[in-house]
Amino acid sequence: MDRFRMIFQYFQSSSESVMNGICGLLALASVKMYTSFDFSCPCLPQYNMAYGLGIMFVPPIILFLCGLILNRQSLVMLEEWRRPQGRRKKDLAVIRYMCSSIMQRAMVAPVVWIIVTLLDGKCLICAFSGSMDPEKFVGFANVSTVQVQQLLAKVPCKDDELMRNNTSSKAVARYLRCWSQALGWSILLILIIAAFLACWLRPCFNQATLLQARHWSNYIDIEQKIFEETCCEHSRLFAHKCILHFFESMRQEIKLHSCSLPGEGEGAEGEEDLLWGITDQDQVNKLLKKWYYEKPPLDVS
């Protein structure tokens, strides 16, 4: 049992840290994905907004779903939620606690993506360059409406021949980037303040309920791990017994067929035991064939 105890302690202490680790890895992966993604604004009036906002919001959804999939606890929570009541009551507070902790961890990577996107600014410039008021910028003030839309849509493409030396387009880009970064920093500040307040104010509300919910959610997690470990152990022992029975039945068969000298098996050494009375190429072949063609029944009683 000592071995089991060590394993349980390991799981107990590091279930949270494993999940935090996965959360951190996903956040890093989201930054890496953004930097390696080659942002390419189409610079066309109808497509800019869809592309810009798409890049800003679709990957966070993907990262959120990934955060839910990779988190083992979400399965545990779902099983606990959907199981029949049976002889054990279901505590909704525990399920709520598990759900909220899973959601919090899953939200980290999407938020990181959105903040990095805003701080970088390319998405917002691409999405909203067509919505700028041309009157505010000298270079676009005296241009016809249709053309101004085309020109404004090309602002994100700095290398375009029309935009290369156009100071007004640079002004539009700077303006939008400024707004984008302000928005990014504000969101970051608000989130950090919210997290700070949540940590500090939590003990003031329902601390006892929280402790209970956390305890029982850990318990459910560990119980499931132990159940899986026990099933593994059981299936190993079952297989061991099944194979022993099989070899024993082969030995009986050989004894019956070979009518060997009576005193033979009495002084059997360890080697004799390990040989199971199978001492011949044909007997070995027969054993292997029987193993394939007629596996023993799953019954070790």
């Binding site: 390419s40 779903l65 099933c231 190993r236 080697e271 199971w276 011949d280």
Partner: protein, 338 residues
């Protein structure tokens, strides 16, 4: 068996993480393959589509098959599927579980390839450059070119150095357009795959948890049973070999003693254990003879009962195989060195 038990427990608990590791390595390998691959669009009207779609779809298929090949449970699945029923029934749910879990892991690397290809944009740009809407993006009214000419010009869009249709449609405009579409498709593909994975994983506990636990247990059982059987056979083979070789050396030593007409045995008391282990082979020539005989005339795979002196016929004498009662010590044995 204790050592084996520890090994099996290690494999069992880590089987899943081992397979996940292989899965992750293949996904990384697929991105590495893509970045190392030198994409080279032919820039010819009918070849572009074939090349672009080929690069998009053929490597994922290869990666999918490779995912199955590298999964060492595939032979287990095949064996369980094809074995005769015998005394043990077959459960199709278990087979389905095994196949599904293998297929899910094998799908990851191809999905990564397709996603990376679409997000990069070169394949779609190459494949669909001839379908760019020139009316909206360029000057369709400009030089009246025949349809075929236009196709040829548009086909060169991916190859900037030889593109000569700047008047028809600007190269950057067309590339940006196609790349935007490709990236949108890529993100939608990734979103779709992730949503599917999420649904598959989260709907299972709602509907078939009991059946799932059963299938998982029995598929692990089949795996463990196979490993244990292999280990038991290996142990048996080891013991078999040990006894076989022991009998070989004993036979040799018996024959040597008979041939030299020495006193049957030196008193074991003064020789000690080491002399016994030498089995009468005490010089260079005799050892060489033993080795040659082992090579030229291996003993049959038939172990004699330990109480009886073996006559394993290694010298090719043509004697009848077993004499259950009389030891042969007095007989002069003929054995050939050939």
């Amino acid at each position: 068996m204790d050592k084996f038990r520890m090994i099996f427990q290690f494999f069992q608990s880590n089987q899943e993480s081992f397979m996940n590791g292989i899965c992750g390595i293949m996904a990384l390998a697929s991105t590495q393959m893509y970045s190392a691959f030198d994409f080279n669009c032919p820039c010819l009207p009918h070849y572009n589509l074939a090349y672009g779609l080929g690069i998009l779809l053929v490597p994922p298929f290869i990666l999918f098959l490779l995912g199955f090949v590298l999964n060492n449970n595939i032979s287990m699945l095949a064996e369980e599927w094809k074995r005769p029923q015998g005394q043990r029934g077959k459960d199709p749910a278990v087979l389905r579980y095994m196949f599904c879990s293998m297929a899910q892991r094998a799908m990851i690397a191809p999905a990564v390839w397709v996603a990376v290809t679409l997000l990069d944009g070169k394949c779609i740009t190459c494949a669909f450059c001839t379908s760019v809407p020139v009316d909206t993006l360029g000057n369709a009214s400009h030089p009246h070119l025949s349809q075929g000419e236009i196709q040829r010009v548009l086909a060169r869009i991916p190859c900037k150095e030889i593109y000569n249709g700047q008047q028809l449609i600007a190269n950057e405009v067309a590339v940006r357009y196609l790349r935007c579409i490709s990236q949108a498709l890529g993100w939608c593909f990734v979103l779709l795959m992730t949503t599917l994975a999420f649904l598959v994983r989260s709907l299972r506990p709602c509907f078939s948890q009991a059946a799932f636990l059963k299938s998982r247990y029995w598929s692990h059982y089949i795996d463990i049973e196979r490993k244990l059987f292999d280990e038991t056979c290996a142990e048996h083979a080891r013991s078999f070999a040990k006894v076989c070789i022991q009998q070989f050396f004993e036979a040799m030593s018996t024959d040597l003693v008979a041939a030299r007409c020495h006193l049957p045995r030196k008193a074991p008391a003064d020789a000690g254990e080491a002399a016994e282990k030498l089995l009468g082979i005490t010089d260079w020539g005799t050892m060489n003879m033993a080795l040659k005989s082992w090579h030229r005339c291996k003993p049959p795979l038939h172990l004699h009962p330990p109480a009886l002196p073996p006559g394993n016929g290694w010298a090719g004498e043509g004697q009848p195989p077993t004499h259950p009662s009389a030891p042969r010590r007095e007989t002069a044995a003929y054995y050939s060195w050939v």
